[in-house]
């Protein structure tokens, strides 16, 4: 029994080490001026592919879904998927040493799965058990791993190297991984449509503002990840870096 437990722990450690190595980001975290996008040519090609698929199919379907589905139903669908994939959040809360949050997340999952009828209703937030956003990429960041190169994947979209192992952990902790049959396809389709519908405002802003949507997406993604790693409270000093990089940044021109 004891041997099995030790063997299990070693397997876990080996798995984590492999995942970290797969991310290409082993080693302590340090600030680096290295190009964050060494894979840009391939990334841009995949970005073009995804954009084509989005404009031609996913976005129009999401827009119709948003138009014909009442807001309460869309909220219920979002709640359902948030709850279904919440095991990944719970595990990563604990892995990051946030034990109080981990306990709160566990109770939230139980409450919403039962009182919230399979997660359709978010009863727990009203009980002081808020929704958290955690994943294995954030966990690796809190453990001190570098982000690694920016990687844009077909279908999946933007990632940092450090975020790639989360594809495995979130799949292992996703109940849908363990079911098969005809029900799976419509559930997955609904998930993609709901996810895309929830991002319509963000992509509208991007389309309105961006002169180079690829760079816009990359920078917004990388900054958003930093924001999530710090749970919405990144150190303010980081805001100034862009001004301090150029020591001669005082303006000489005046507006007439």
């Amino acid at each position: 029994m004891e041997v099995n437990r030790v063997h299990g722990s070693i397997s876990t450690l080996v798995l984590i080490a492999l995942l970290a190595a797969a991310a290409g980001c082993a080693g302590p975290q340090s600030k680096s001026d290295a190009n964050p996008d060494p894979l840009e040519p391939a990334n841009r090609a995949f970005y073009g592919l995804n954009e084509g698929l989005d404009r031609g199919l996913v976005k129009p379907v999401a827009e119709v879904y948003e138009k014909i589905t009442p807001r309460f139903a869309r909220t219920a669908v979002t709640n359902f998927f948030d709850n279904l994939f919440y095991l990944n959040v719970i595990v990563n809360s604990f892995l990051q040493g946030k034990s109080d949050q981990g306990v709160s997340d566990t109770v939230r999952f139980v409450v919403n799965s039962t009182l919230g009828i399979g997660g359709l209703f978010d009863v727990a937030s009203g009980m002081g058990l808020p929704l958290h956003n955690e994943d294995f990429g954030q966990t690796l960041a809190t453990w001190g791993f570098n982000p690694g190169p920016y990687v844009y994947l077909p279908i999946k979209g933007p990632n940092s190297g450090r975020d790639l192992p989360d594809m495995l952990t979130s799949a292992l902790l996703n109940p849908l991984t363990y079911i098969s049959g005809g029900i799976l396809l419509p559930i997955q389709a609904l998930r993609v449509i709901s996810l895309r519908a929830n991002l319509l405002d963000e992509t509208r802003i991007r389309d309105e503002a961006a002169v180079d949507p690829y760079s816009f997406t990359r920078e917004a993604y990388l900054q958003r990840r930093e924001y999530l790693i710090y749970d919405g409270n990144p150190p303010s000093e980081g805001y100034e870096d862009i001004f301090d990089e150029d020591p001669d940044s005082e303006s000489e021109l005046k507006i007439e």
């Binding site: 180079d212 958003r224 862009i242 001004f243 303006s251």
Partner: protein, 227 residues
Amino acid sequence: MSNPIRIPAPSAVTIGRARYLLIQCIVSLSLLFNFGSALAQEPAPDFEEAAGIVMELHGVLGEIMKNADALGYPGRFQLIDPVVRQRFDTPLIVKVILSRHWNGLNDAEKTEFIQVFHQLSAATYAARFDSFSGQEFVETGREQLKAGRLLIKTELRRPDEPPVKLDYLMHQNEQGEWRIISVIANGVNDLSLKRAEYAAVIKDRGFPGLLEDIRRKIQDMESGKES
């Protein structure tokens, strides 16, 4: 016969006490020194003036949201344009955004770019703040950063939706007036986005290509078109 003054031989206790007094002296002197240097430091920054500028911007944004339909895009642009012109340090902002490309521009190009970027900023506000559904701006904190900069933290609160955190980085220009130099929305810094984008466009199609793209964006926003 007077009694001779007896000086006790130093013992471990008296040596310990002397050392204690010496440490106390050093601590007291250092405290005094620090207090003196604190008095000599510049006065605390005027948070009120900096926060007032953010409130002014938010006041106008609230106004254009509430009267969005009546004003239309031209009316919204007309109201927000002077605030952007006066309260943002656009020359510094564009210099930081264009980074090393800035020094390659001549004075006429620099002036032209500042003007176009002004228009883009005002147009973006006029296009994005185009409806009202109970949103309100609330100040949530103030922070002093290095180099005399201040951070004014705010939230755009929306009914039935999570708030958007809007942080304003501010500095004093040469005239000592507070100006906004960066807006960070939910942790995403607009300056960093634009720097990456503009560098990519300049690399591809040069500075004229960038100006052309920005002008087209402004036209699209005027006509309410997503590109």
